[in-house]
């Protein structure tokens, strides 16, 4: 769950309360709301500095032990106690502090089990605040390695890959088979136009719908479409949400890629287990500078950030490789080097897609987006908006797509466009507008004239109308000795009623005459899932609003299951009352037990220890004249005597020790959060 999803579940009052927490004071002074502060590196950094020691230990241990994976309360407490020596009550206190500040959240399953989580988009920010990864970019002396290394092939940014996928989907149609999935042919096309390496995804151990019908890559594409609100389920077909599609296409490239990166991280960080620490470290690195994977590994070792990881979160092998994933999603360049000192992977973030570059997007206004060549080749400028590229995907075949994209118009692609309701005139006027020109090369016009002269000159309508695109075409039909008898009536200048049963025969005759009619039969209203959506390109009026387009929180359509789905569960209110229940009974014990160090009788000492165990609090012991903090774990009875097993927190070795009551001189109960009596 990310901040945006949480906002849908949080009450206004609760959100307002978060920013009042002491940790956010500097953020509040900067005028930030909680939702802004939670994703602001500077605000998070200062919050980390202001957290209480207990809360800090709890948070650090949680991230070390579970990374971005939500944690069951019991396992979380166990992990924190194991690695920090905090007592149970101190853990709870820490958790309360974190929940009250809107840093951690919890949901409750129906049977009462509580699950804690950090909003997934906050994970990397907190990780970087708690264990800053600062490394030097590759030195110029080492640049030689880049030249001699094996450079991974260029991958298009995910947005462009998805554009091709959605265009292919729109061309193939969104009908679902009886099994409720897209047809095999459509899925094959979808997978073909996206270069993302499916292996990168497989390593995350994802689970998805229609596993037997959809390869993971197809599910990933569809999930992206659903998650950003472009696709939704309809009756027997998926449906485009055309307004959302238009808004998405109108986004500037930087915003779109950052939005997609947020979505990917939301999906994959919780699935990445321990490896997500590496991802979080990478995300913070500066774009366009080369770094070595060795430095990341070194940092992971040095900070021991993954060392508390629960074994069951770490067992996936081979582990997800974020470098390969980010490369495959078109956000990172990768070079594999093989030198005398072994293999090494070098990487850098491209352009403005890394988290580091957030907010740096600029919209370029350039009416000359494409250049039209006489042979039908279209050269597309990098600044060309997706609204135009969307149409190009239909009109032409993409030859290459990087700094500039090259498309090639062909008879078959033009026929496809005609099939989707475009005309020679509309294509030409679109191209003129996109090229910022008021004329097209004459050779190109001639090509278009030929390519549009035959296909789709005729079309069938559901009412069994034979529709001719001009009087000239109608005349040709009327004069045809074989077709004429099948024309029941002429409607207007260019339409004929025909007998439905003769539809195939007329189609054959038209084909034979060299005028293949439009495929299928038109019906009214048009079934929208069949038609390649028209997108208003260059709609400047709506572009401003497009820049703020945010997808729906989560559509009901799921193609890839979340690794740890949380949104079905009830978000707890995170108040202290529940966690602090035991301390409400403080008045039931003598006040002196908590206020003063005393030497009690062994039986009273046992009572105090039992109370500490019940409340999960530490006790203070004077052992050999030194004050020690001790967290009891359990009492052991042996031959009529007793002993307490627990942890002396100031010992270097974090090992349980066994104390018999005669081993300390004085003691008192320590209540976390209560002022020290001294």
């Amino acid at each position: 769950m990310n901040i945006q999803q949480l906002l849908g579940k949080l009450s206004e009052q609760r959100e307002e309360r978060f920013i009042l927490a002491d940790v956010w004071r500097p953020a509040m002074q900067r005028g930030l709301s909680w939702r802004e502060a939670a994703l602001d590196r500077e605000a998070v950094q200062s919050a980390a500095e202001r957290l209480s020691a207990n809360a800090l230990l709890v948070l650090k241990t949680m991230l070390r032990s579970f990374a971005a994976v939500p944690a069951q309360e019991e396992r979380l407490i166990t992990a924190v106690r194991k690695h920090t020596g905090l007592s149970g009550a101190e853990c709870h206190m820490g958790l309360v502090e974190l929940e009250e500040a809107g840093i951690l959240f919890s949901v409750r399953k129906v049977w009462g089990e509580k699950i804690f989580f950090i909003p997934v988009d906050c994970f990397s920010i907190w990780q970087q605040s708690l264990w800053p990864f600062q490394t030097d970019p590759l030195s110029s002396a080492n640049q030689e390695k880049l030249i001699n290394g094996k450079i991974r092939t260029h991958c298009r940014p995910l947005g462009r890959q998805l554009l091709s996928a959605f265009a292919a989907l729109a061309q193939s149609g969104l009908e679902l088979t009886k099994k409720g999935a897209l047809s095999k042919k459509t899925v094959a096309k979808l997978v073909q136009v996206v270069e993302l390496d499916e292996q990168c995804l497989h390593r995350f151990g994802l689970k998805w719908t229609h596993r037997e019908l959809y390869p993971l890559k197809a599910a990933f594409i569809l999930e992206a479409g659903a998650a950003i609100g472009l696709l939704q389920s309809g009756e027997g077909a998926l449906k485009w949400k055309e307004d959302s599609l238009t808004s998405w296409l109108e986004l500037d490239e930087g915003s779109r890629e950052r939005q997609l990166m947020d979505w990917c991280l939301r999906l994959l960080l919780p699935a990445g287990g321990a490896s997500s620490h590496a991802a979080a470290a990478l995300i913070g690195l500066e774009a366009r500078l080369w770094y070595s994977e060795r430095d990341v590994e070194e940092w992971l070792k040095k900070t021991r950030v993954e060392t508390f990881m629960n074994a069951d979160l770490n067992v996936r092998w081979p582990a997800p490789c974020w470098y390969e994933l980010f490369h495959s999603l078109g956000w990172m360049e990768l070079v594999d080097c093989c030198g005398s000192d072994g293999r090494e992977r070098l990487f850098r973030w491209k352009g403005s897609y890394s988290a580091h570059a957030r907010g740096s997007a600029a919209v370029e206004v350039n009416p000359h987006y494409i250049t039209i060549q006489p042979n039908g080749e279209l050269i597309v400028e990098p600044s060309c908006p997706f609204t135009i590229r969307w149409e190009l995907e239909l009109l032409a075949e993409r030859v290459s797509d990087e700094q500039v994209a090259v498309y090639q118009l062909k008879p078959v692609t033009v026929a496809r466009a005609l099939e989707n309701g475009r005309t020679n005139k509309s294509i030409q006027s679109f191209l003129m507008e996109a090229s910022g020109s008021d004329s097209l090369p004459s050779a190109f016009e001639a090509l278009m004239e030929v390519w549009t002269s035959r296909a789709c000159r005729y079309s069938f309508a559901e009412a069994v109308l034979l529709r001719c695109d001009s009087e000239q075409m109608a005349e040709l039909v009327e004069k045809d000795s074989e077709m004429a008898p099948m024309l029941l009536a002429k409607l207007g200048a260019s339409d004929f009623m025909v007998d439905k049963s003769q539809l195939d025969e007329i189609r054959r005759l038209l084909q034979q005459a060299g005028y293949p009619p439009r495929k299928g039969v038109q019906s009214y209203p048009e079934t929208d899932h069949k038609c390649y959506p028209f997108v208003k390109h260059l709609a400047k009026a709506s572009r401003n609003s497009a820049l703020t387009f945010t997808p729906e929180i989560k559509s009901a359509d799921t193609f890839i299951y979340e690794t740890c789905p949380l949104h079905h569960f009830e978000l707890t209110d995170g108040s202290a009352s529940e966690s602090m229940q035991p301390f409400l009974q403080l008045e039931q014990v003598p006040a002196i037990w908590t206020k003063q160090l005393r030497s009690y009788h062994h039986s009273t000492r046992k009572e105090l220890i039992e109370q500490a165990l019940e409340w999960q609090t530490p006790v203070q012991l004077r052992i050999e004249q030194e004050l020690r903090s001790f967290v009891p774990e359990r009492i052991e009875q042996q031959n009529g005597t007793w002993a307490v097993v627990g942890l002396l927190r100031d010992e270097q070795e974090r090992q349980l020790i066994r104390l018999t009551p005669d081993m300390w001189e004085e003691m008192r109960l320590v209540i976390p959060g209560l002022a020290d009596p001294t």
Binding site: L146, I147, N148, G149, I151, T153, H154, E333, V335, G351, A362, E364, T371, I372, Q373, P374, N375, E377, I379, E381, P382, S383, S400, E402, Q403, V404, P411, P441, S442, A443, A446, L447, V450, W451, S453, D480, Q512, A513, G514
Partner: protein
């Protein structure tokens, strides 16, 4: 991504370069580009070039460094030079000069930097050629593997400098005449000299094999002859058909000191092997059955050839490629107007004949008046009404034929002949019936494959001398060297969408013309039929060379008017 709009180049990471010809310094940049790229397409305002391992190694061979190229591309690039492109340029050029082949006491040695050789040894395809790894930086190779070894290394991305040398071949005293046999003054044009110089490279092991690309009419045959004279050794010339064989012989006799007895023809019934032998690809690849050996391939070893010339190298058939791999010690010269191969084997030409040594673009040649300035026009004529029904019911193949043989084309031809009266005109077509009909109507001689060689020569001669001004020819005219020089070509029909054929036919017009140096190419197609689509495809190569086609459409009643006018 923000670009620098005044800069003309876009460099893609796959080494494709786009040059925006509309920017002010495009010309200056083009001059640089041709030093290390191949021109791929020159249509419209954005021209496409490509760097390949070969173009970069050629650049390195001429002293250009990776820093130079990276510097130019960065300076003139509209966007940042992609890292992948920069790294590839540096890596490929960095490899140049690191590996070489030499010959020592009859042993073929492969030498280079130990680290690079170690890398190469990891490729299993290389190991079979290595006889002995003498030192980390020197291996002895198997005898006879020189061609395939180079081919394989090139494929793997390692340039090897072949210093193993060439054998001189049988010496042959030959020189270029200052006055031709017909007593016309003769000298090589500057670019022809330059092409020969690039090929010969002062007789060093750096030269001696490669391809020269010149537009039709710019004198490829002359370049071949000059290379032959430069090397003065026995030469095997391979060409595409028997008409070409005759014409090569004629040119050799006309422009060199060679005598008839020194020139052999090896085609048809003639099997003469002489110091200069001209053979067709056809005869070399002839065999009795699919399983039988190519018996005429022995021609490669029948004499001690010092040079093999591959004319129209873009037509070289696969068995000849294979044979060529075995004769790497013989100098090889490829001649062509276009490296476009309809079969997509352009790479084989590079690896087995050699890299491109010289390339003059059509439009540059035109600008220098080395070839005529050709106006290309497509004229669309409607299908006669009575034929329309026939066309509609016909099969796809018949449709094309009906369109091609549209009788409506004939009045257009007559009109064009009136317009260009007196100018030597070729009327070129695919279908014999149509050609016979038009020849009859025009009372013009017809040249087809059915016409005996002797009669063909006679027709050529009469056309050349101006005794006849119109010659109707079938597709035999496509590949003949120096088929009669014409000022006007009218194409009635062609082979589907063959770009190569269109280029060849226009090539017939390119020989420089007296007066305003102009020539005209007309292609007549039937409107509203499949023929217009094929015509478009055929025109692509010329479009990509920078030629424009003007289009004229004749209204349906225009034919009758023309016919009337022609009466």
């Amino acid at each position: 991504m923000h670009g620098r709009d005044d800069k003309p180049l876009v460099v893609q990471s796959d080494l494709v370069i786009l040059l925006d010809e509309s920017t002010p310094n495009a010309g200056q940049v083009r001059e640089k580009l041709i030093l290390f790229t191949d021109a791929v397409r020159r249509a419209g305002s954005i021209h496409t070039y490509r760097m390949t391992a070969l173009t970069l190694w050629n650049a390195a061979a001429s002293g250009i460094s990776a820093n130079d190229i990276v510097g130019w591309l960065s300076e003139y690039g509209k966007y940042e030079l992609p890292f992948q492109a920069e790294a590839t340029i540096r890596r490929l050029i960095g490899r140049y000069g690191c590996l070489s082949l030499t010959m020592d006491s009859g042993k073929l040695l492969f030498q280079g930097e130990p680290a690079l050789m170690e890398q190469i040894y990891r490729h299993s395809s290389i190991i079979e050629y290595v006889q002995n790894r003498l030192k980390p930086n020197e291996w002895e190779l198997c005898n006879g593997c020189r061609g395939v070894f180079k081919q394989e290394l090139t494929r793997l991305g390692y340039p090897v400098i072949d210093r193993a040398g060439y054998h001189s071949g049988e010496a042959l005293a030959v020189h270029i005449r200052e006055h031709t046999l017909r007593n016309r003054p003769f000298r090589l044009r500057d670019y022809q000299k330059e092409a020969v110089k690039q090929f010969y490279k002062e007789g060093t092991v750096q030269g001696g094999s490669g391809v020269i690309v010149l537009p039709c009419g710019a004198g490829k045959t002359i370049v071949g002859i000059a290379a032959l004279a430069q090397l003065s050794s026995a030469t095997l010339i391979l060409t595409s058909n028997s008409t070409s064989v005759k014409q090569w012989k004629e040119e050799l006799l006309d422009k060199t000191s060679l005598t008839d007895a020194e020139i052999g023809e090896y085609c048809g019934t003639l099997k003469q092997v002489r110091p200069v032998t001209i053979a067709t690809y056809n005869i070399l690849t002839h065999r009795k059955s699919k399983e039988a050996a190519f018996s005429h391939m022995r021609l490669f070893s029948e004499r001690d050839w010092g040079l093999i010339i591959y004319d129209e190298v873009h037509l070289l058939p696969a068995p000849v490629f294979r044979m060529t791999a075995d004769i790497q010690a013989t100098r090889r010269l490829g001649l062509t107007a276009t490296l476009v191969r309809e079969d997509g084997c352009a790479e084989d030409v590079y690896s087995l004949i050699g890299p491109k040594q010289f390339d003059m673009q059509w439009k540059s040649a035109e600008a220098g008046s080395y070839i005529a300035s050709v106006s290309c026009t497509e004229i669309r004529v409607p299908l006669q009404k009575e034929k329309q029904e026939l066309y509609r019911d016909a099969s796809a193949r018949s449709k094309l034929r009906l369109a091609a043989e549209n009788p409506g084309k004939i009045p257009i031809v007559q009109r064009l002949l009136q317009e260009h009266a007196g100018k030597p005109t070729l009327i070129i077509g695919q279908y014999l019936n149509q050609l016979h009909e038009i020849a009859d109507r025009l009372k013009a001689p017809l040249l087809t494959g059915e016409v005996p060689q002797q009669d063909r020569q006679l027709l050529y001669e009469r056309f050349k001398t101006g005794a006849i001004s119109v010659l109707v020819v079938s597709k035999v005219a496509n590949f003949a060297v120096d088929l009669p020089d014409a000022a006007v070509a009218i194409q009635l029909s062609g082979s589907f969408g063959s770009r190569q054929e269109e280029a060849q036919r226009i090539g017939r017009l390119l020989r420089p013309k007296e007066g305003n140096n102009s020539a005209w190419f007309y292609t007549i197609v039937t409107d509203q039929t499949k023929e217009t689509e094929f015509a478009m495809r055929r025109q692509l190569f010329m479009l990509e060379q920078g030629y424009q086609y003007e289009r004229l459409s004749l209204p349906i009643d225009g034919i009758a008017a023309l016919e009337e006018a022609a009466q």
